[in-house]
């Protein structure tokens, strides 16, 4: 679905941000891109819909070379959700805002209306379709932006820190929507600094450090390599750190979330020698 080969990118200022990245992301994957500020995460994301084009190397999206494609052409394949919804909202109603993208694709009126209704329902904004999007809360505005990306019906969803500035509940709700879309077959690539979110939702994690891939593995394998993560000022989620603190006792396998640790504690407690271990520890 996404094929990155020896990708280099240098800004006009001469600053080289990406240094020869190579990886593939298959259809239906749920990938988190993590790394410290300035690692090149957003620069990499912008390569996926040709907002930025490779200085050297290539990026292929569903067989299309981004160097030879425009952002508009790729918008049918790649939906890009930006950090700040206010950078795109301009229409007087939520319905028109969601319908802006499909209108640019010259779809029929009926098709646009159907897509608007579907996208609004997916993000829980159906009853706000007639509202002015600028008067909604930040969380709701982010949903409007998300719906306006969904209405393009892209196969790949690229999300740049989708939960930034949202309260915990809003953040979880957005990620649950993303998870649902992934279950429907969409490929997800998202950037976040929230390791708990990564542990809960991502199945694969790519760690970037100074424009290079430091780690590319399953979420569990990445978070149980704290010494490598530390090189890029990242820390595993608290549950993983707690489990690692007990590594010497051999108590836990490799839990990532509270639910997983709870299951492991229950399993331990059900064994007579395990119960003793848990109590003593």
């Amino acid at each position: 679905m996404i094929k990155v080969a020896n990708l280099h990118y240098k800004y006009q200022s001469g600053l080289e941000v990406l240094h020869g990245l190579s990886f593939r992301i298959g259809k239906g994957e749920f990938v988190a891109l993590i790394g410290q500020n300035g690692a090149g995460k957003t620069t990499l994301l912008k390569q996926f819909n040709a907002l930025l084009k490779p200085t050297a190397g290539s990026v292929g999206i569903a067989g299309l070379d981004t160097a030879k494609s425009s952002t508009g052409e790729l918008s049918r394949k790649v939906g890009f959700l930006f950090q700040n919804p206010d950078h795109q909202i301009f229409m007087p109603t939520v319905a028109k805002e969601i319908g802006f993208g499909p209108k640019n694709l010259h779809l029929s009126k009926g098709e646009i209306e159907a897509r608007v209704a579907e996208a609004a329902q997916a993000v829980g904004l159906t009853r706000y379709l007639g509202h002015n999007p600028l008067l909604l809360s930040k969380g709701q505005r982010q949903r409007v932006a998300f719906a306006s990306v969904l209405s393009m019906q892209p196969e790949i969803l690229v999300l740049d820190e989708p939960t930034t500035g949202q309260d915990y509940q809003e953040g979880i709700e957005i990620m649950e929507m993303v998870k649902k879309l992934n279950e429907q077959g969409h490929t997800i690539v998202f950037v976040t600094h929230d390791m708990e979110l990564v542990a809960t939702y991502a199945r694969r994690v790519i760690v970037l450090s100074r424009g290079r891939v430091l780690l590319d593995d399953s979420c569990r394998n990445v978070f149980y390599h704290p010494e490598i993560l530390k090189q890029t000022n990242l820390f595993p989620p608290q549950i993983a750190r707690l489990a690692q603190a007990f590594a010497g006792e051999g108590l836990f396998k490799r839990p990532l979330t509270v639910d997983e640790m709870y299951e492991e504690i229950l399993a331990l407690a059900s064994r007579p020698e395990g119960a003793k271990n848990v109590c003593c520890s």
């Binding site: 952002t71 508009g72 918008s75 890009f80 206010d86 694709l105």
Partner: protein
């Protein structure tokens, strides 16, 4: 183009001058440019600005700005030159007709207007590139007695030019991700295609201004008299530079009155 209003740190003679001296230099150039209509004299004035930028060590940063000004002046000339019918015809765009006629008066007049525009505009980025905004505010308020809120408003609007350009870049990216096109061939559609960019920029700017106002008020903006931590003194060297500039200015005007320079 963010260099238009950005301070570029260097340790040069020009940087060390008082903002008042540099304001005087800028004002003198603007005044002189209004006296002359010979494109060569105006080009000479522009060259003097480029030399000041070179002396300040910021010529490299100023080159894109000057290039932009040249493009604007070129467009300005292009829009004017065909409408001046006085003088002898030099050539027409379509030979044998009067369509696209360019006359000697039109050519010299338009070149002069373009060059004047460049001189008037070019000194400003050099002034801003060599003067810290806080120093400029102090001079505007303390020496030129401009009320502080106005001086602050002026310099803040300059400070936000690069920020707004970054915001605009983000907005263009967000809208083009939704297949929005700006390169429409139809003029009306191209004009309308600016709305998806202009409205978010306006909304984010208003929000930013609101946040900034609150942030300033919470830090005591507008309460009681202000003091300044650093004051850039008007030194002897500044007085000498101002006298030299004044003498040069008077000489130029005298040569103009005598008809040597037109």
């Amino acid at each position: 183009m963010s260099a238009v209003a950005n301070y570029i740190h260097r340790d040069s003679f020009v940087h060390r001058l008082s903002p008042l001296t540099k304001l005087f230099w800028s004002f003198l150039l603007m005044t002189l440019s209004c006296f002359f209509r010979d494109p060569l004299v105006l080009a000479g004035l522009f060259l003097s600005i480029a030399l000041v930028a070179l002396a300040a060590g910021i010529l490299k940063e100023m080159l894109p700005v000057f290039k932009g000004l040249l493009v604007i002046a070129g467009l300005f000339i292009l829009f004017q030159i065909f409408f001046i019918t006085d003088g002898t015809t030099l050539f027409t765009l379509i030979p044998g007709t009067s369509i696209g006629r360019v006359t000697d008066v039109g050519l010299i007049g338009c070149l002069a207007m373009g060059a004047r525009m460049i001189v008037i505009a070019a000194s400003f980025p050099v002034l801003m590139g060599t003067t810290q905004i806080k120093d400029l505010v102090v001079v505007l308020v303390e020496k030129l007695k401009i009320p502080y809120p106005y001086a602050f408003m002026f310099v803040t609007s300059l400070r936000f030019v690069p920020t707004f350009m970054q915001e605009m870049d983000q907005i263009i990216q967000a809208q083009s991700s939704r297949a929005h096109r700006l390169d429409n061939k139809n003029f009306v559609r191209r004009f309308l295609s600016v709305c998806p960019l202009a409205i978010p920029l306006m909304v984010t700017s208003v929000k930013r201004a609101e946040r900034m106002a609150i942030s300033m008020e919470t830090r005591g903006f507008g309460v009681g008299p202000r003091t300044n931590l650093h004051v850039k003194e008007f030194r002897t060297v500044d007085a000498a530079v101002c006298v030299c500039l004044l003498v040069a200015g008077i000489a130029f005007v005298a040569l103009h009155v005598k008809g040597v320079l037109v």
